[in-house]
C-alpha cells in the first residue's frame, strides 16, 4: 500500500478522487453500480459521478425517483443478490428518509439471517456547509450510524483517503456509510493513479507533536491542521490525528498518542452529545489511568439547529481560532486566555463556498 506522504501520482481533488475510485472499481467488477438522485445529470454530484453514465451505461448508473426509503431497500436487495450498489445522496440529511432500511435491514441482515446473506453496499452522503445550507443541508449525522452494530462508517478528509476508502468500501462485504464533506471536495492531494485501498480501522497521525493530541473528524481535520499552525506560533506542538474510519474505530492509535501528550481535544463536524467525539473520549478514559490524563475536551457544532445567517453560522462551527484557543487553554491552564490575532486567524479560515446549489 502507498501512503499519502509518498507524494506519488498527481495532485487530484477530493471529488476527482471519488470519481476515479468508482470508475476504476466499475471497470474491475461488473457487479458495481451507481444509483441516486442526480447521479446522471449535468452536474454529476459536483463531478463525482461525471463521465460514469457515458462510460458504463444506464443499467449501471441510474437516476432514482425521490423515494429514498424504497431505494435504500432496492440497494440492499441488489446487494443481497450479489451486486455492489453505491447509493448516492447529495445531502446526509436525506439519509433520514432511508433510516428504516439502513437500520432495520442493512445493519442487521447478516446477523438476523444467521450469516446466510451479506449486504455489500456503499451509501455515499455529502455534508453541506456555508452559503445558508442551514438546518437541513448541513448535518453531520455519522454518530447515528455508529450507534448501530452492523454498519461501517468512514469519513475520509483527504483526496488520497477518499479514493482509497471508497475502493475499500466498495469491496467491503458490509454496508458502509461513506461520509463526505462538501468543503473537502475541491481540496487536493497527491493521489496514485493506480487502484489502492485505505483499510478501515487505522487512524493516521498526520503531524507529530508532544503537547496535545487533537483528533479531527472529516472536515474538522482540515480545521485542526490549521489550528496546529496557529499553535506552533506560540510554541505549542499538537499531534493531529485523523481517525479516517469511525466504525471500526482505531482508538489504540489515539490512546497511544494521549498516553504521551496527556491531553486530548476531539473536534467533530457534528454535535457532541452522544457523538463520535463522546465515543472517542470515552474509549480513551476507559483505557488510560486518571494520572495519565491532564485535560480532555471536545468541540463540535453548537447545541442548536444550524442557522443560515453568516453572523450566527460563524458561531455554530468550531474553527481554527476556536480550536487553537481551546488547545492553548488545555496546555497552559494557568496562562491567560489566548486567541490568534484576527488577521492570522482569517488567513487560516477555510475558503467559503459560494452558492447557489
Amino acid at each position: 500500500m502507498s501512503s499519502p506522504t509518498d507524494r506519488k501520482g498527481r495532485l487530484l481533488t477530493y471529488v476527482g478522487a471519488l470519481q476515479e475510485a468508482v470508475s476504476q472499481e466499475m471497470d474491475r467488477d461488473p457487479s458495481v453500480f451507481v444509483m441516486g438522485l442526480d447521479v446522471v445529470d449535468h452536474k454529476g454530484i459536483q463531478g463525482s459521478t461525471q463521465g460514469l453514465p457515458e462510460r458504463f451505461g444506464p443499467d449501471r448508473v441510474f437516476h432514482t425517483p425521490l423515494s429514498e426509503d424504497a431505494m435504500a431497500g432496492v440497494a440492499i436487495g441488489a446487494a443481497m443478490a450479489g451486486m455492489r450498489p453505491i447509493y448516492v445522496h447529495i445531502r446526509m440529511d436525506f439519509l433520514m428518509l432511508c433510516m428504516n432500511q439502513l437500520i432495520n435491514i442493512a445493519a442487521k441482515a447478516r446477523y438476523m439471517y444467521g450469516g446466510q446473506v451479506s449486504v455489500p453496499m456503499v451509501v455515499r452522503s455529502m455534508i453541506g456547509k456555508s452559503w445558508g445550507q442551514g438546518a437541513q443541508h448541513s448535518q453531520g449525522l455519522h454518530a447515528m450510524f455508529m450507534h448501530v452494530p452492523g454498519l461501517k462508517v468512514v469519513a475520509p478528509a483527504t483526496a488520497y483517503d477518499a479514493k482509497g476508502c471508497l475502493i475499500a468500501a466498495i469491496r467491503d462485504n458490509n454496508p458502509v456509510i461513506f461520509v463526505e464533506h462538501r468543503l473537502l471536495y475541491f481540496t487536493d492531494a497527491y493521489v496514485p493513479e493506480e487502484s489502492y485501498t485505505v483499510p478501515f480501522g487505522h487512524a493516521r497521525v498526520c503531524t507529530p507533536g508532544d503537547d496535545i493530541t487533537i483528533v479531527g473528524i472529516s472536515n474538522m481535520l482540515v480545521e485542526a491542521l490549521r489550528a496546529r499552525e496557529l499553535l506552533t506560533e506560540v510554541g505549542i506542538h499538537a499531534e493531529v490525528i485523523d481517525p479516517i474510519s469511525l466504525v471500526p474505530l482505531d482508538s489504540e492509535t489515539i490512546v497511544r498518542s494521549v498516553a504521551r501528550t496527556k491531553r486530548l481535544l476531539v473536534v467533530d463536524n457534528a454535535w457532541t452529545t452522544c457523538g463520535a467525539s463522546a465515543e472517542i473520549m470515552a474509549r480513551v478514559i476507559e483505557t488510560l489511568e486518571p494520572r495519565e490524563l491532564r485535560a480532555i475536551r471536545r468541540l463540535g457544532f453548537a447545541p442548536s439547529t444550524c442557522p443560515t445567517t453568516p453572523s450566527l453560522e460563524r458561531l455554530f462551527y468550531p474553527n481554527p481560532a476556536s480550536i487553537a484557543s481551546a488547545a492553548h487553554a488545555m496546555v497552559r491552564p494557568e496562562a491567560d486566555r489566548w486567541e490568534p490575532s484576527a488577521e492570522t486567524a482569517a488567513l487560516a479560515y477555510q475558503m467559503n463556498f459560494r452558492g447557489p446549489f
Binding site: 425517483p65 431505494m71 435491514i105 446477523y111 439471517y113 444467521g114 446473506v117 462485504n173 458490509n174
Partner: protein
C-alpha cells in the same frame, strides 16, 4: 397459452392435487404443532400463524421455478415451507437452537433459506417489498428469465415503500410479482377503518402495473393467476400485481383464536372455514393417497420437532458472530 395447458389450469390433475395438498397439509400441521408446543414455553418467539392462509403461499410457489426468488413477511411459516425451506431448521429456529435457519438469532419472524431462495423475513411491515425489487434488478441483469415475488399483507400497502416500489418496478420493468395477501386485518383493525378506497388493484394499476383480484381463496384460481402472471413477467412484460383475499383463523400473534375479543366475528370466519382449501383438497384425493401424504408429512414433522429438541443452543462465542461479514 396452448389449449391443453389452459385446460390443465382449470382441471387440475391428480398429481397436481396431491402435490398441492402435500404443501397445504405440511403448513397446516407444522403450525398446529407449533401451537401444540407453544404452552411448554420451549418456543420463546412471537409466532404469527398462517393457519387458514396456506393456499396463497402454496399456489404462488407452485407457479414458480426453484431458481425464482420469494420474499415474505413476518407471518412467514407458510411461505418458507412452500418455497421448500427446511422444516427442521425452521423448528430449530423457533426453539432458538444453533441449528436453526438463522442460527437461533432470528426466530419465527426472520425465517430465511437462501439455498431455496426464500429471502429473509422482516418484522417491520412492508420492508421486504423494495428488497425483492432490488433482487429483481439482479435477476433482470443476468437474463435467465428468473422472477422475484414479494408477498405482503394488506397492511403493507399502507406503507410508503409499497408505492415507491410499484413506481420503480414499473419504470424499470422489473421481473417482480407483487402479491398482496389481503386478510382484511392489520393486527386488529379492519381495512374499512384504514383504507379510503378498497380498490387496492386500482392503486397498482395507477402505476401502470397490471392487477388481478381473487376473492374466494380458491387455490386453483390463485395458482392459475400466478402462473399466467409469472409467465408474462418471465417473458419481459414487467411487474404485475395480485390481490388475494384470504382469512387468518388465529389471533394476530400466538396460538389460538380471538373471536371473543370483539373486533371480528366468528360468523365472518366461518365462511372462510367452510371453504378451507386443506379440507377441500383432502376430499378430492383417493383416501389411500391422502393417508400416505398425511403419514409422510406427520413423520417429517415429528422428525423436525425431535431435531429442534435435541439440537444445542448457540454458545457465548456466537453472540458476536456475524455482526459483520468477513
Amino acid at each position: 397459452m396452448p389449449r391443453t395447458s389452459r385446460r390443465a389450469a382449470k382441471t387440475p390433475s391428480k398429481d397436481d392435487i396431491a402435490r398441492l395438498y402435500r404443501g397445504l397439509f405440511l403448513i397446516r400441521r407444522a403450525e398446529e404443532e407449533v401451537e401444540h408446543v407453544y404452552p411448554s414455553d420451549k418456543i420463546k418467539s412471537p409466532v404469527h400463524l398462517a393457519i387458514g392462509q396456506e393456499a396463497v403461499s402454496v399456489a404462488i410457489c407452485d407457479a414458480l421455478r426453484p431458481d425464482d426468488v420469494l420474499g415474505c413477511t413476518y407471518r412467514s411459516h407458510a411461505a418458507y415451507l412452500a418455497k421448500g425451506g427446511d422444516l427442521g431448521a425452521m423448528m430449530a429456529e423457533m426453539y432458538g437452537k444453533a441449528t436453526g435457519c438463522a442460527r437461533g438469532k432470528g426466530g419465527s419472524m426472520h425465517l430465511v433459506d437462501m439455498q431455496h431462495l426464500l429471502l429473509g423475513a422482516s418484522a417491520v411491515v412492508g420492508t421486504g417489498i423494495p428488497i425483492a425489487a432490488g433482487y429483481a434488478i439482479a435477476l433482470k441483469r443476468e437474463k435467465k428469465r428468473r422472477v422475484a415475488v414479494t408477498l405482503f399483507g394488506d397492511g403493507a400497502t399502507e406503507e410508503g415503500c409499497f408505492y415507491e416500489t410499484l413506481n420503480f418496478a414499473g419504470l424499470h420493468k422489473l421481473p417482480l410479482l407483487f402479491v398482496c395477501e389481503n386478510n382484511f386485518y392489520s393486527i386488529h383493525t379492519h381495512i374499512s377503518k384504514r383504507w379510503s378506497n378498497l380498490d387496492v388493484c386500482g392503486r397498482a394499476r395507477a402505476f401502470g402495473v397490471p392487477a388481478k383480484q381473487i376473492v374466494d381463496g380458491d387455490i386453483f384460481k390463485i395458482r392459475a393467476a400466478a402462473a399466467a402472471a409469472v409467465d408474462r413477467i418471465r417473458r419481459g412484460g414487467g411487474p404485475e400485481f395480485l390481490e388475494i383475499h384470504t382469512y387468518r383463523w388465529r389471533q394476530h400473534v400466538g396460538p389460538g383464536g380471538d373471536y371473543d375479543a370483539g373486533y371480528r366475528s366468528e360468523r365472518e370466519a366461518r365462511k372462510w372455514m367452510k371453504s378451507d382449501q386443506v379440507a377441500r383438497l383432502a376430499a378430492m384425493l383417493a383416501s389411500a393417497t391422502r393417508v400416505r401424504i398425511e403419514d409422510e408429512v406427520n413423520a417429517k414433522i415429528s422428525e423436525a420437532i425431535a431435531f429442534a429438541e435435541s439440537s444445542p443452543f448457540p454458545g457465548p462465542e456466537d453472540l458476536l458472530a456475524d455482526v459483520f461479514a468477513d
